[in-house]
């Protein structure tokens, strides 16, 4: 009985839900980024590295004196640049989306680490910045403890859903992801549309990374992204490529992650802590397996398209 009460208290404690939203934010931004790319028919495994680059560039911009939103913009720009490269390789040259994406991840990660070491050759403790403050002025309980980037991520959900489902641009994006030949016949430029979608999606991935250095922490560490990008690639399948479900998926996932942290603290050494840390990755695989049978992949996902070929 007392355990049940404790669980109830845990589930209703604002602290848990504050943590859930904080953990969910980078996942949501990253998942929306992957979603944009994949709805246009292109897998973007560059996300893991683009998040590292976003985290680094955003933090560096602020450290050099830019305002916090300037850092966010710089991270988005860094993401967009790597997105453009990915688009050039996978859309322009129709190369393997798997290998090109991994190449982008390796390149973006290595460049960020190299640039960090060149800029700060001798530091042992990472230099810190003043991160985003919580939105205390907001009269909504759990949200008031979050930074504006979380609000931005939440607002992007309906905006993206509207753009995808209710605007000509969104229709074009979905067309090139489902049937590029038909899109071309309708006068939609497949290469331009796919490139735009990848650049926009990658910019979001950059912002997802920047959340880590500008809101969640106040410095740049190596390995700080730690597989979050790959988790986003799994979440987008779980979310059936829909923004609303992406929010639900990210929150559900973050809920388990936050719960795992608390159970780990409550457990006091019964199970090795590594088993709790494994949960997010196990859950991602489980999510993929659960939806596998009814996953409605965008029809042209991972299919290269060359103009004039049928």
């Amino acid at each position: 009985m007392s355990e049940l009460l404790e669980l109830f208290e845990l589930l209703t404690s604002p602290a848990l839900w504050v943590a859930v939203l904080r953990i969910a934010t980078p996942l949501l931004l990253g998942t929306l980024g992957v979603l944009l790319c994949e709805r246009a028919g292109v897998l973007n495994l560059g996300i893991e590295g683009i998040m590292v680059a976003g985290a680094f560039v955003g933090w560096l911009a602020v450290w050099l004196g830019a305002p916090l939103w300037g850092g966010v913009a710089a991270a988005a720009l860094a993401g967009a640049v790597f997105g453009l490269l990915h688009a050039g390789l996978t859309v322009g040259l129709a190369l393997s989306q798997h290998v090109a994406g991994l190449g982008i991840t390796l390149l973006a990660t290595a460049l960020s680490h190299y640039a960090y070491r060149v800029s700060f050759p001798k530091v042992t403790t990472p230099p810190t910045i003043t991160p985003f403050a919580p939105m205390d002025w907001l009269p909504i309980p759990v949200l008031a403890a979050q930074t504006p980037l979380t609000l931005l991520a939440l607002l992007l959900v309906p905006v993206l859903a509207w753009v995808l489902n209710r605007t000509p641009a969104g229709l074009a994006l979905r067309m090139v992801g489902e049937n590029p030949q038909a899109a071309q016949a309708q006068g939609v430029g497949v290469i331009a549309t796919r490139t735009a979608a990848i650049v926009a999606g990658s910019a979001l991935m950059g912002v997802a990374g920047a959340f880590l250095t500008l809101a969640a922490f106040n410095a740049f560490f190596f390995n700080m992204v730690n597989g979050r990008g790959w988790i986003c690639v799994a979440l987008v399948v779980f979310a059936s490529w829909r923004p609303g479900k992406a929010l639900a998926g990210a929150v559900l996932f973050a809920f388990f992650d936050a719960l795992q942290l608390r159970l780990q603290q409550a457990d006091g050494g019964g199970l090795p802590h590594q088993f709790y840390l494994m949960l997010p990755y196990l859950l991602s695989i489980l999510a993929l397996v659960l939806v596998a049978r009814r996953a409605a992949y965008p029809q042209a996902l991972m299919q290269p398209w060359r103009k004039g070929e049928r």
Binding site: L102, R117, G227, W230, V233, V237, Q274, L277, Y281, L288
Partner: protein, 353 residues
Amino acid sequence: MRLERRDETSRLALALAPLLAVAFTLGVASLLVRWAGAPVGRTWSLMFAGAFGSVFALAETLTRATPLMLTGLAAAVAFRARLYNIGAEGQLYAGAIAAVMVGGLHGGASLTVPTALLFAATMAAAALAGALLLLGPALLKSRLGVDEVVTTLLANFIVLLAVSALLDGPMKDPLAMGWPQSVALDPELELGRLIERTRLHTGLLAAIAAAVLLWALLRFTVWGFDIRATGANSRAAAFAGVPVGWTVVRVAALSGGLAGLAGAIEVAGRTGYVTLDMSPGYGYGGIVVAMLAGLHPLGVIAASVFVAGVLVGADSMSRAIGVPTYLADVMVAVALIAVLVAGLFARWRLRWR
């Protein structure tokens, strides 16, 4: 502007493509070296000397090339069948830990077995651990259509955490003073040295033999034909009677097994026990090696020596003039992308109209 397939692909163009890619990589890296404020020419000469300049340097490069060769073969054979195994890093650790379980703890039993038998069991356990680890994602792909890239990537994190738990718990070395390191492999199982007073061990010969065997398998056997056919066009292969599902399972076992062996050979040849930093990304490096080699097993030998040379040379150069060692990671990534593009232009041409 559009791409058009060349009527004839010249062998010269295909051979030149990787060289052009390497030249491009050196160009990009030179810009980065200048940005770091170091003299470009001296950086390259230091790097080359650090990788190939002396017997000791060469031995160090070949020592690093050994696991890369095996993970490179693991990636090459899997990618040939379009099974995108990105989990070689996890499979390497699984193999290493399985090797110590059998060859260090003797599976918990305190019986004495002949060294040769124990050695065979150790290597077999490592290969089996790696193979089983990839079999899951391969079956999920063929049965349920779950993308193997994501599952193998996520499995890497799970395996590393599991190894970490084992190093804290049942496989912890009681003499390691709290340092996370496993019990040691039986000293009798350690591989012999190829060159005195270096770390180069006979694992290199095993890796080269694996490359030659894999080449022969792909080139001359029915199974090799099945693998190539499945990768080229799995629907056409199935129509022609190739057992596609079974081929993918066997490729998964082979690929995961090779990566698992890489872990066991690292333990038996270099470290003697498992630590959490025993692989500086050999699993991911293997993918680059395989792509640089054009997925050709014999090409993997050369490509792994090249990548290992970059890594070892950068370490040595960085100690001398302070350009960050991450330069090596950048070069490996740029080389991967450049070789993809160069390979494309060897087969396709741009038409401006």
